[in-house]
Structure formats: C-alpha cells, structure tokens
C-alpha cells in the first residue's frame, strides 16, 4: 500500500498545477494544462469512478 500511495501522489502532484494567472490565450502551451485536462477527462466516465452521487444515485 505504501508504494501504491507514493505512486499515486506523484501523479496527483502533477495534476494540481496552479494556472490561475496564466493568460487564457496561452494556457494551451503549458504541458501542465494538458495534464490537468487529461486527468479531468479520465475521470469523466471511468467505470470505477463515481461521477454522480446523491440520494437514490450511485452512493
């Protein structure tokens, strides 16, 4: 579990970049932006991920 945790944290660190002050027009030039998009899109429909939670939903 320890190894797993470290591995995941490493990848998570790469997906937490602060892009708030990067001009919108140039944000696509940043590798970090692509990583963020990839991470979010991967969470859009993964079978093992809960996308919607709530009463009478997927909890």
């Amino acid at each position: 579990m320890e190894e797993y945790s470290e591995m995941i944290m490493a990848s998570r660190e790469n997906a937490l970049w602060d892009l708030r002050d990067v001009p919108l027009a140039r944000i696509n030039e940043y590798a970090e932006a692509k990583q963020l998009v990839d991470v979010v899109m991967a969470s859009a429909g993964g079978e093992s991920l809960i996308v919607v939670a709530g009463f009478n939903s997927a909890i």
């Binding site: 945790s5 998570r12 892009l19 944000i27 696509n28 939670a53 709530g54 009463f55 909890i59």
Partner: protein
C-alpha cells in the same frame, strides 16, 4: 510604441522570460547561396564579427541564459547553434561550446539543443558528438536538384545538392534518427511546388519548414504577373498535396495557421500574435534581435548590448524587442481591420519594413498570407494538428495548489472548514481554465472542418471564434469577473462536453456557448462588448446570470450588446434572471436556466414559473435559515462553496438529490415536503461535493479495485468509492440530526450506526490508500466521539 504598450510588453517579459536563443558559433559559410539573408541582404555586420565563437564567450553566454532561466523559473530553454555554417567551427571547438552550455544551463533548466546546418560537412563523427549532447539537427534543402541548385551553390558554382542529401541520409540511419530535427526550405516560386514537395517528403523529415524568402517593401520578393498572390498559390499547391497525403509530415506554416485559427499558439514568429521570445548571441557575445531583421537595413538586428555587460532581461527590454511583443494594437491600421489578423499576426516583423514608415505596415506578403490563410481555413485537413508541436516555449514552472496540512483530517471530521473548501475551489478554477482553453481549441478545429457546411454552422462558428477572442481579452482586463464565471459549476461541465461530445450532441451549438461565457464575464465586469450569442429555444443564455428571450428560433445567433451590466439585442423581449436565495450567512443561486445543468442523472426541472419559484424560494430560505442557526459549521462551508441549487423534476415518489463530480458548487434536489428534508439534502449533497474535491488532491481509494461491499443504506453491493461517498454523506446527516436535539435522536442513532458499520466495512476491503485509511479513521472517530443529541439542543422551527 506608446508607453502603455511598452509597459505591457515589459510585463510579458518579466512573466515569461526568453526561452529560445540562437547562438552564432561561426560567422562564415562554405556555401555562397545568393538568397542568404546573412551575407546578401542589407545588414553586413557579419564582416565585423569574429569568425568563431571563443570558449570564454560560450561560457559567458551559458551563464547569461542560465541566470535568466533561473530568474524566470523557466522549465526549459532552447539553444539553436547557428552561423554562417556552424560546422565550420570544428568538432573540438564545438565540443567545448556544448560542454559550456550543458554545464551552465542544465542545473537550472532542461536544455534543448539544436543546430542548423547546410549539411555539407555533416558526417558520422559529428553525429556522434551531437548524440553525446542530444543536439538535434536541422538541414537546409530547397527541394529537388533543380530547385536546390537555383541558389544553394558553392562559391565556384558547384551544386551542394548531393552533400545535403548525404547528410539527410546519415540522419535517417537508425543510430542517428533521433537527432533528425527536420528540413528548412526557402521558397522560390520559380520552382515547381509539387516537385519540391515530393523531393522534401522523400527525405522523410520529422518536420518541414517552408520559408518565405526574406523581403521588405523596399526590396520586395520576385513576383509573377499572373497572380496577385503567387506565394500563396505556390504554398497552396503543396497544401493540397499535403492534405491529400494525410498531413503525415508536419509542415509548420500550415500547422501554425490551423492552430492559430483555433485560438492555439502559432509556434512561429511568421504567423500569429504570440509574443516573440527569441534572442540572438553573435560570435562576439553581442545580443542581437532576430536574424530576419538583417533584410531590413544595415544594423537592424543590433541592440548595442552584449553578454559581457548586459543580462538577457536587459536585452529583452530593447525597444526593437518590445515592439514585437505588443500584439494587435501595434500592427498597422490595415492589419488591425483585417479579418484574419488574429491568425496572420501581421506576418513576420521584418517583412513589414519600409524605409519611409518603419515596421508599421502590412507584410510585403500580405496578399499571399490573406489568400493562403483563407484557403487553409476553408479547406482544413481531417486530422487534428494542434498537439503536434512539442511544448517548448517560455513557460515558467507552475506551482501546485496546496491544501492546508490538516485539511484531510478536518474534512474527515464532518463539515470541514472554509479554508479547505476555498482551496478546493481554487484548484478547480485552474482545471476549469485549462478545460475551457482546450475546449476552445478543439472547437476551432471542429469548426474549421465544417465552415462551409451551412449558414447556421457558419454563424455558430463565428460565435465561437468571437467568444473565445473576447474571453481572452477579458481575461487580462477583468480577472475577477473571469474567476466568477469559471467558478460557475456548469462552465466546466460545458467544457467537458465539448471535449468529449456525447452521441447526437449539437457540436456547433455547444461550442458557440463560449460566447455566452464571454458575455457573462463582460456583464459582471460592467464593461462593453458586442457578441453573437447562440439561440436555444428562443433564448440567448448568459450563464450564471440569466437569459434573454429573443422571441425567435429562426436565427442561429443573435448579436447582443452588453454594457454597464445590462444586455440588449434586436427583438429582445424579456430578460430572465437567474434568481438568488439570500439569508444571513448564506447566499446561492437557484439555477433553472443554464443549458448544461442537466448532468445529475435525475432530470433537471425547467424554468420555474412564479408559483414554483415562490414555493422553492420559501423552502430554500427556510432550510438555509435552519442551517445557519442550527449547525453553523456546515452553513459556513456551504456559504464558502455552494453557488447554485438546481431544481430537479419531481419524481413519481419520494425525493431525489444528486451532485456531479464535475459541477463543484452545485447541488441538485427535488422540492422536499419539509424544511428538514431540504436541509438534509443540502448537507448530504455538499458532503459529496467536498469529497469529490478532496479526491482531486488525494486518491483515497484504489480505483483499480473492483470489490463491492454491503452498505447499511442500500440493499445492493456498492463499489468502494460509492460506499466511501455514502458514508461521508451520512456522517453529515448524523451530525445534522445531532444538532436537532430530541427531534433528531432517532435519525442520529440510525445514521451513527450506518457510518460506524460502513467505516469498518471500508477498512476491511483493503482498497483504501493510506490517505483513504486516514480519512475513514477520521470519520469513525468523529462518529464514535460524538455525544448523543441532548433534548435541550437547539431545534429551529
């Protein structure tokens, strides 16, 4: 340049730094090409330069570049070894230069080394040296032998074609293939474009550059009498072949036009409005501007500075450098009024020069650029080219978002705190910015692919393009309003839909929604814009704020004027505002308009009529007051993070509520018959929102685990992440019940038991990560340590 523009350019330098350097290592050449801008054009400064760079100059250059990269936190810098002909330096001296660059720069930033050569002297030992330092090699070749021999000859008239082909063959060998950067071809319209293209493609280059020969209005390029735009005709002949071939070899000029047309970077100073960020260091250590300026006038590239006395920052502030970073406002009036200016960018700076008016002119290739860009956009390839260019510009490393150290434990205890919710919101903002920009770029490619399919598509494509341009402009002028719109929960949902459209999606309509986002920013900022907004069911939407009834569905778009926080359009009948619930300590929108709000599994209700709104308003105000009075810790985090409640359609029986992972800040609920029921749903759903946010920072569950477990609140087995969410939601309900005193006792006992049992079951799965185990332990402690509700506990009516 006016001082305000100079100041803006200064900011760009300090923010991004210079990440690309051309290092002249030899100032002479072994060929005598008659089209060479170094020796045959206006600037003759080469005559005064040392033939070869000295080791001490290389060391000093490396020190200046590293100093600048460190100051600007640049992740990577690119150094292009250039000449003259750089291989004339000789291998041993070249090794010294490479050692100096690697030793000086690599401790600070990733060093991307390139060399540009005519190939005449390239042989195995050179390739071995370049392999040792990772130097990628670009070779000049103007096409087939006829084309290449037209200019690229030795001083005695001999052809250099065979030597160039031999060099390219060497770079194709398996052991050196990784060093092959590409081919640079200077256009001559006397050459047959198809023959040139075929000859270049035959060399299997990883990238092809087709370069307009440097020229100015004083020394215009050769033109034919048969066409107003012969260079466009020549390029488009190749473009058609390239598209027919599936665009297998990246050709920068075409990739750049396609990228810039969709709001992406242009990757070259010859196209687009991107700030130019390249500095030249000559063999004597002098800082110079781009080599292309050599075509303008003698001394044009000079800055009067050198690495011995001036930093890269100082060189970058030279007026000639800042003049090239001013963007749209620094272009000639004719350029500013041109429909393709955001793609063209006025063309290469040097090509605008006229001795009487300087550089404030359209490019001497203006007619060619207009025709080429227009035709490329109208006839795009099927393949997407945006991602082909490696990211290697002046990008500072971005710092990561961080949660306060105790956040995981604070959230596990139940309500969390405002700091945690704020950190999650800020992190989500970064992701939404990246998603919106990616969606806008994807939109451009989709739209350029279908521009000619019909008037509706064309109108919606225009809406998307204008919307993106406006959003980019507003981003710099009104960051607060931008942040508000990007924090709107359904902005991210919209962007994700554009990036991964569901079957049957109206792609053009979806992508045009970006104009609505720009309108919403302008409206919040109180500024003035005019934009064509897409029409849906007779409404034009201004997300998070409302929608204007334009009384028609026959138009794809309606041009809307935003000014002083108001919106107006021809035929505009009525403004439907997004309505707010506001009680002391808690304020949120009731979102019954946003076209992307229906993403919570249960169907969203339509626009509430006045009776429906009164019922919802009364119920939500009552529930919000109960929360603020009865359990302020939860009310405070709701106030910090919940931006909207989405009414769901009434189910046949019971109640539904839901939270989307991607719509942080929104909860969707049905109208429960009691205030306590609504209170329950708000607390329950926002627990999901917080946990989704926390999961962005920490993996709590091994998502590869397919194990399912029994949970007390459902009969079916649940995936581990679902069980974790349910446990956390019921922890919130347990604490809410506890706050209700005797009235909540039965619920508290039930929820307490559920949470404790579920925590134990989760622990037994072994599917929790270290952080997941800590989170579950925190929930269990919170529920075990809680005291039963007291009869005198506050129980608001």
């Amino acid at each position: 340049m006016p001082s305000a523009e100079a100041a803006a350019a200064q900011v760009m330098v300090s923010q991004y730094g210079i990440a690309q350097y051309v290092l002249k290592v030899h100032s002479r050449c072994d060929l005598a090409c008659d089209h060479c801008y170094v020796y045959e054009h206006a600037d003759q400064s080469w005559r005064l330069k040392p033939r070869a760079i000295s080791p001490s100059t290389a060391v000093a250059a490396a020190r200046r570049i590293a100093e600048h990269a460190a100051a600007h936190r640049l992740r990577a810098v690119q150094v292009i070894l250039h000449g003259g002909e750089p291989l004339l330096l000789g291998r041993e001296a070249m090794r010294e230069v490479l050692v100096a660059l690697a030793a000086g720069i690599e401790p600070v930033a990733v060093l991307d080394l390139r060399i540009h050569t005519n190939g005449v002297r390239l042989e195995e030992r050179w390739c071995e040296l370049f392999g040792e330092f990772g130097v990628r090699v670009g070779v000049s070749l103007d096409g087939d032998q006829v084309a290449n021999d037209r200019h690229r000859r030795f001083a005695d008239g001999r052809s250099s074609h065979q030597q160039a082909l031999r060099a390219l063959g060497l770079l194709r060998r398996p052991e050196y293939q990784h060093l092959y950067a590409g081919i640079l071809c200077t256009i001559d319209i006397a050459n047959d474009p198809f023959s040139v293209y075929q000859a270049l493609i035959a060399e299997r280059p990883p990238r092809l550059d087709l370069l307009l020969p440097h020229a100015t209005w004083d020394n215009p390029p050769p033109r034919s009498h048969e066409s107003l735009h012969p260079y466009a005709d020549w390029l488009l002949a190749i473009y058609r072949s390239w598209v027919r071939d599936g665009c297998g070899v990246p050709i920068r000029v075409f990739d750049s036009v396609l990228s810039a047309s969709s709001g992406g970077p242009s990757w070259t100073e010859a196209i687009g409005l991107d700030p130019v960020g390249v500095l030249v260091i000559d063999t004597d250590g002098s800082w110079e501007q781009a080599d292309s300026l050599k075509t303008a006038y003698d001394g044009a590239p000079s800055t009067g500075m050198s690495i011995w006395s001036h930093s890269a920052d100082e060189a970058a502030q030279h007026s000639g450098m800042t003049a090239r970073r001013g963007g749209l406002v620094t272009l000639s009036p004719a350029c500013q009024a041109c429909p393709v200016v955001r793609i063209c960018g006025g063309g290469m700076y040097a090509h605008r020069y006229r001795s009487s008016t300087g550089f404030t002119n359209p490019s001497v290739y203006c007619t060619d650029l207009l025709e080429m860009i227009t035709q490329v956009i109208a006839n795009p390839p099927e393949v997407t080219v945006t991602s082909r260019e490696p990211v290697a510009r002046a990008e500072p490393r971005r710092p990561p978002h961080e949660l306060p150290a105790d956040t995981l434990d604070v959230l596990a205890a139940g309500p969390g705190d405002v700091a945690a919710v704020t950190a999650i919101s800020q992190m989500r903002l970064s992701r939404t910015r990246a998603l919106v920009a990616a969606a806008a770029t994807a939109a451009g490619h989709l739209l350029t692919g279908h521009l000619l399919t019909g008037q509706r598509e064309a109108a919606l494509a225009t809406s998307a393009a204008e919307g993106w341009a406006a959003l980019c402009d507003l981003d710099s002028s009104h960051p607060g309003a931008i942040a508000e719109i990007f924090a709107h929960p359904y902005t991210r949902v919209w962007a994700m839909r554009c990036l991964d459209p569901p079957a049957g999606a109206d792609l053009f309509l979806d992508r045009a929604h970006i104009a609505g986002l720009a309108a919403a920013v302008a409206m919040r900022a109180g500024t003035t814009v005019e934009l064509p907004l897409p029409v849906r069911d007779g409404l034009v939407h201004v997300p998070s704020l409302g929608a204007l009834d334009v009384g028609t569905d026959s138009s794809a778009t309606v041009r809307v004027a935003i000014s002083s926080g108001r919106v107006a359009a021809p035929g505009g009948i009525a403004w439907r505002a997004v309505r707010q619930v506001s009680v002391p300590g808690l304020r949120f929108a009731v979102e019954d308009l946003d076209p992307y709000r229906d993403c919570q599994r249960w169907a969203a209700a339509g626009r509430l009529d006045s009776g429906g709104w009164l019922a919802w308003h009364r119920a939500l105000c009552g529930a919000a007051r109960r929360l603020a009075d009865g359990i302020p810790a939860y009310a405070q985090v709701l106030a910090a993070g919940m931006r909207a409640v989405v009414p769901l359609r009434d189910p046949p029986a019971g109640m539904n509520s839901a939270t989307s992972r991607h719509a942080f800040g929104a909860v969707a609920i049905t109208l429960a018959p009691s205030l306590a029921g609504i209170e329950d749903m708000l607390v329950h759903e926002f627990q999901h929102a917080k946990l989704f946010g926390l999961s962005d920072f920490y993996d709590l569950v091994d998502n590869a685990c397919t194990q399912r477990l029994a949970v007390p609140w459902r009969e079916d087995l649940r995936p581990v992440e679902g069980a974790l969410h349910g446990t956390y939601a019921h922890l919130g309900l347990a604490q809410l019940s506890q706050s209700r005193g005797a009235a909540g006792q039965a619920d508290w006992l039930r929820y307490r038991s559920w949470v404790a049992d579920a925590c134990e079951a989760l622990r037994e799965t072994k599917a929790l990560t270290q952080h997941g185990e800590r989170f579950v332990a925190g929930m269990l402690a919170a529920i075990q340590d809680a005291t039963p509700p007291k009869s005198e506990a506050k129980c608001p009516k």
